[in-house]
Point group: C2
Chain length 257, copies 2
């Protein structure tokens, strides 16, 4: 299977490098708006590259878009891919957004957060696929199974719900980590002190329901401590609001039914 | 060192059981308001128990309070511990709250979230101690070092800041997990799909700054996706508010300076 990888960001990097080691799959070209980015990734994969959408290889089996959501339509409007197999990798974009650019479209959504600097073991990652025809679905399935055993065919609307949940348990969680890091810095506390707690909070979810293991002042309805903490956040009105709102929601979730 | 453990909840359980295997440390008695709880923990430790504060063993080296913050003063008001070494284990209670109950007071604060059902490896947990006299500080240090290599002497005000950061990276993070779990349930999505992402989000913090690895629609300022997600949360006004507020704060944190 010959693949043209469109994009050279975090996901394109991790995906391109992972695919380059798989039998039966060949990334033949990388495109990026930025030529140096395309070149850098193409070097890692060992393939050609271009920053000109008119120079895309014509005979690939799949054109895989790993660009930011906003860029998908802009790229496709300028790429001559009518009649080709095109798929995007976005959590919250319906497959239909591709309809005006080709007859054969699909989605390839690996549920993970990618950082250029961090190697990802794709074998543990669920990959959600969708296609508007059986041939395309077969291509995407083959591609996904080359990386992971956890391949699931789901609709655009279910993928959207998964992405929404992912925003809470990944993007928003990470921002709370960043708040904890910043609060530590401001008070000369080594953020490393907090890491065993941070890891335990995640690891216990392997076998326990987060609802069942909620701890802290809010679930104990310890208003005295909550008020002390809110007072400490005077200089950070937005964090104070987050503290207040999540504490209120913990009480709401656990004490009303 | 002979210790009376006051409390039989999550922390008292994990702490009592961990201490029962240490040389030089002996938990001689467990007190709990509930006799059956005191008995159950005492059995695990192999010591005596009571639910009557007037029956506390008189000659212990340390009376360690592992009860909820709200209960600390109530318990001490009814316990004959004047002149004894007493310490609490709370993150956000100043050491001073113990002053009216004894001359020799301190704090023993292991920074972890405890669940009765989960065994905790104390050796990786930072323990923060504080005392109003050297003898007490020595006791607490010996006790802490029997469990962990990471023992730090800090003030009540620094401990409070650590606890505040811990509420964000543990209690609030766990609540976001619970929201993700509930959203999944409502849309017939297996929450296990989200776990590799959840673990990766935590694990990458071992070596990377959370600020540096923020991903998602909010940091990409993808208002179109944010609006789609907010619309999906119509039936959960409180989660919608949390989504809005954290997204706004991500933008605020990363794009203003």
């Amino acid at each position: 299977m010959r693949i043209v990888l469109i994009g050279a960001g975090n996901l394109a990097n991790r995906l391109g490098i992972a695919l380059s080691t798989k039998r039966g799959v060949q990334v033949v070209q990388v495109w990026s708006r930025t030529e140096t980015a395309a070149q850098a990734l193409a070097r890692k994969i060992g393939c050609s590259y271009t920053s000109d959408l008119n120079n895309l290889v014509g005979n690939a089996d799949l054109y895989l878009l790993a660009v930011t959501d906003n860029a998908i339509e802009t790229v496709l409007r300028n790429a001559p891919l009518k009649g080709k197999n095109i798929a995007h990798t976005a959590g919250s974009m319906a497959m239909d957004v591709l309809n005006s650019f080709s007859d054969s479209v699909g989605v390839f959504y690996p549920l993970q957060s990618f950082t250029v600097s961090r190697v990802i073991d794709f074998s543990t990652i669920p990959i959600f696929i969708e296609a508007n025809n059986d041939g395309m679905l077969g291509f995407l399935q083959e591609l996904a199974l080359s990386l992971s055993e956890k391949v699931h065919i789901i609709s655009s609307s279910q993928r959207l719900q998964i992405h929404l949940a992912a925003v809470f348990i990944c993007n928003f969680v990470n921002h709370l980590y960043a708040i904890g890091e910043q609060l530590s810095k401001e008070h000369q506390i080594d953020f490393n002190f907090l890491k065993p707690l941070l890891f335990e909070t995640a690891n216990r979810i392997e076998n326990l329901s987060p609802f069942a293991v909620q701890t802290g002042p809010a679930i104990r309805q310890n208003q005295e401590i909550i008020d002390i903490h809110l007072a400490l956040l005077e200089d950070h009105p937005s964090w104070k609001e987050i503290y207040h709102l999540i504490s209120k929601d913990i009480a709401l979730t656990h004490y009303t039914k």
